[in-house]
Symmetry: C2
Subunit: 578 residues, 2 copies
């Protein structure tokens, strides 16, 4: 990771590449890297689909090393969905591979003058960019098959489906998993639309011949990694709950807590949860010859994913995440796991954010385009997106646009990005994160659900406003730091309650880079990332008025607790006072 | 005008009305009234289609009097198009009639819980509100015919077409003219969508039995009105140009100046102007038995409108305005006056802002939905809007949404509102107004074209940045004041260069209200209106970053002058420093 690769898609005479040392960005990784580059190099008022926006792929500080859990990739740009800064984070193989290829960041800049579509191929010998109009409007699955037939099965693909090509604001960037399937996604914020605007259909990565990155102090690094891995194993969430049932273990938990947004955020409990819970999902997967426990990248030891086969035992999709099951399930009044899995597959294939799509269909159902609970209608709506019909274009641009186009008042978005699977009226801490995150509504930006509901890292009553601002603040800072290391965010369950596991993470960073960081330094790293992001957003026109939940969360009560969102505006405005 | 009428559409048990003295708003009229009420009563972060928004109809200070030109109505709300404050200004009969009925403002508040559509009938005996679902999805023309069959021909209608019912952000409020046709519109900013959200299809006004408002000093008022009228008659623009050719007299003028935005703002001159100019239009109207000179309301002496008949001599629409002819003509590469007139008719019937629709079709053409110059395709796109198909819903929500949904980068909007018919790269003063107006891109908010191109009120070189900020500032202040008097903005051509005509206006106000205002007091009135509006917008989240033209006006040069927009951001930020 001693160089930055710039690919200028708008160069005269066709795309041009250049490599440079990461001067000014040295030592940064993941989100710290993407947000620093955007903050410094992207004009905040530029059009997100224009030549001045940049799409940055940055492995984390520990990606490409022997560290467990270090395979997260940060994908950053000015977001077409929010208009603000964006870091969208994905699993899959790409972070490890990019890091081993030696790149601290790959930056797509400029845009071609015409509509030609390109393939970027990167291996140990360098970068090759070729026009590939034959890839036009391929879904991610067919695309990856084609790349495998051309380049073999040692590759990793970073690609867009039809949605990205059509520059839809819900378009994701797909990243292949260990089975070379396009199942992991930098989903949020429309990063796929920016890749589409740059006319890059796929980046094919091959790290054959490249080695794992070596630490400055291999012995200390190995020791710390071992302690860290043991810490994850012994933690009940990362060692048992997530491996057994995946993220969907949350369906029963959040529903029980009354914070499971049902039928476009009308109630906090769904009568159909038992049919779509993680327990039912794992059972179904196992019975059909799939897998209930599976990792998404080399080096993962939590293995919260799985393989979901159809009724005939054929592969359909990876194990749908909790948020996906919620988005296409409870939020649409749908209790059919097979239908939800099919929608997950379609989203992955078209290259769409499952959260944004589910929230969008919920809004569309409120607009009368389909009945809540009608799985077939919901599937057809997603197919419209893939086809790019006018209706599909609307939906593919997300919940805010769909609400606007159909005149719907109840639209669960902040800064244009749809709410994930937790209702802030029953989980107040996550509401603070939704409102104030630099990313728009984003549970991963400061996962207060952990402390509100699972009592990890303390205990803050989810139904009261007290303590939520401080909770969200601390989590947002810590998350910004974790997102910079390349670590999967799920390590947080362990490091929040196990000081020795947190220390092991710090020790790994120190041993790898020859540093002597303390826990406070990690906090400072998180703060510096947020500062860059807040600064960019301010220059893009965001104010405290944008750090607000939609009106209806303050007006409508949510059964069963029958509460509105209670945190005061003036308290929201103190989240970034530290 | 000694009372305010409030109609609470959301009251328990059905709509309720109340009347009150205009305490706190006494002496205000038009835009000063609407903006004061919104600023004070509407929560800046409320949903524009929600129960907390208010739709306010306010005649001007001199409306309902014997004063010439005093028939403009201000329609105000939080805009669904911009998210900021909105005053949309219309001719037609309503201002005079509302004023004579004694109302300084009619305020629609709340919204019904169900979808029932209502008719509001107001005459000397009071207000009657009835559910009228039979009016559902009627166009404005059929609607007005139905109202005439029910209430006779002494009425004035304020109504929405299909677009307003569907709560589209380009929906207008239609106001009938002297022939009881729905040809005058509060077009901009989606005020029709707010009326639709309140579920009011039509307000039928009948001022039978009501008298003209009487001045405190009738003799002085009459004298001032006479001098004022004479001033308008002797001015070459208001006395000759506008009556002879209507606003469309500008087509040749702006094209000659190289500032006529052609094919979605790609060039500043259109090869087809001679076929759609005001001169050609007037000739066509006269030859077909229409009218080239006609007023839009009682008391108008400029008479810049007309009657446009089809080839068979049958009424098709009122004389399309310059901005309409541009929007559906040059901006779409269309040089067919009959096609443009038909689109004007369709816009009026569906209840759509012609400027927003033309700009939207230009963007849609850039997106590949139709070829530039294809009049039939453009007509069909507007018909989609009336039908409310998904494509129609997109287009009916304006240029910004259309650009977003189809991934188009070149979208001429500020604060979400489409540019009118003057390219800021060739008419720099109007660019300052577009960028900084509280209304979004709006030529009427500070019509610098007058001074840049027509050399009215001075001479500021349209191609240079120097002097434009001061010009726009002074015009925005003066306009805010004029928009409060009920006067047609076209009086500005006369009062800017004829001190005695301006003095006559001040004298009329003083004689009517028993005041002793000076010209400086009028300026202060304008400043106070802008201050209210800026304050509301700031509380709604607008910053200096929103006072900017889209990126492409700073990057793409416009032939024939081959300039970009030259006014610096930091200078734009001084417009409201006074």
């Amino acid at each position: 990771m001693d160089k930055i690769l710039r690919i200028n898609m708008g160069a005269e005479g066709g795309p041009q590449t250049s490599e440079e040392p990461p001067d000014g960005y040295a030592g940064l990784g993941g989100r710290a890297m993407t947000s620093a580059i955007i903050s410094k190099e992207v004009p905040p008022l530029c059009h997100p689909l224009g030549q001045d926006n940049k799409l940055i792929f940055a492995p984390g500080m520990l990606s490409g090393t022997a560290s467990v859990m270090s395979g997260r990739l940060s994908v950053g740009c000015k977001s077409p969905l929010t208009g603000g800064i964006k870091e969208s984070n994905s699993g899959g193989q790409a972070a490890q591979v990019i890091a081993r290829l030696g790149y601290a960041a790959i930056i797509l800049e400029g845009k071609p003058k015409d509509d030609t579509l390109y393939k970027v191929f990167i291996n140990k010998d360098g970068v090759k960019i070729t026009p590939e109009n034959s890839l036009r409007m391929l879904g991610n699955y067919d695309l990856v098959d084609k790349m495998m037939s051309e380049h073999g099965d040692k590759i990793t693909c970073v690609s867009i489906g039809q949605a990205g090509e059509m520059k839809m604001s819900a378009a994701s960037v797909a990243i292949t998993d260990m089975e070379l399937r396009p199942t992991r996604h930098a989903g949020r914020g429309g990063v796929g639309a920016v890749m589409g605007a740059k006319r890059v259909k796929v980046i094919v990565l091959d790290d054959t011949g490249m080695k794992m990155r070596t630490p400055k102090d291999p012995k200390k690094f190995k020791e710390a990694n071992k302690i860290f891995a043991e810490g994850l194993k012994k933690n009940p969430v990362t060692g048992q709950g997530l491996p057994a049932f995946g993220t969907n273990v949350l369906t029963n938990v959040i529903n029980e807590a009354g914070g499971y947004p049902t039928r476009n955020f009308k109630t906090g409990q769904f009568e159909g949860v038992s049919k779509i819970s993680g327990e039912t999902q794992a059972e179904t997967e196992t019975a059909r010859g799939g897998l209930a426990t599976h990792g998404c990248h080399r080096g993962c030891i939590i293995k919260c994913s799985g393989i979901y086969n159809d009724k005939d035992g054929n592969y359909l999709t990876k194990q749908p995440e909790y948020e996906t099951v919620w988005a296409h399930g409870g939020n649409c009044g749908i209790n059919d796991l097979d239908a939800i899995a099919l929608m997950d597959r379609l989203d992955d294939d078209f290259g769409l954010d499952t959260i944004e799509m589910g929230a969008t269909i919920g809004v569309a159902m409120d607009a009368g385009l389909a009945e809540f609970g009608d799985a077939e209608a919901a599937i057809n709506l997603i197919k419209e997106v893939g086809k790019g019909t006018p209706l599909g274009r609307i939906l593919g641009n997300g919940a805010a646009i769909t609400g606007k186009v159909f005149g719907v008042e109840r639209v669960p978005v902040v800064k244009g990005q749809a709410f994930p699977a937790y209702d802030p009226r029953a989980v107040h801490g996550i509401g603070v994160t939704y409102a104030t995150s630099t990313m728009g509504a984003d549970h991963t930006a400061g996962y207060a659900v952990a402390t509100n509901i699972m009592k990890v890292g303390g205990d803050v009553d989810p139904l009261k406003p007290e303590g939520q601002v401080e909770l969200s603040r601390n989590l947002q800072i810590a998350t910004a730091a974790i997102d910079s290391t390349g670590m999967c965010l799920f390590i947080a369950f362990a490091i929040m309650d196990q000081p020795e596991t947190f220390q092991a993470l710090v020790d790994m960073l120190n041993a790898f880079y020859g540093l002597s960081m303390t826990g406070d330094d990690v906090t400072e790293l998180g703060k510096s990332v947020l500062k860059n992001e807040r600064d960019f957003n301010a220059r893009a026109g965001f104010t405290a008025k944008h750090d607000r939940l939609p009106e209806f969360f303050k007006k409508e009560t949510l059964p069963p607790h029958n509460l509105t969102f209670q945190v005061k505006d003036e308290d929201l405005d103190t989240v970034f006072n530290w």
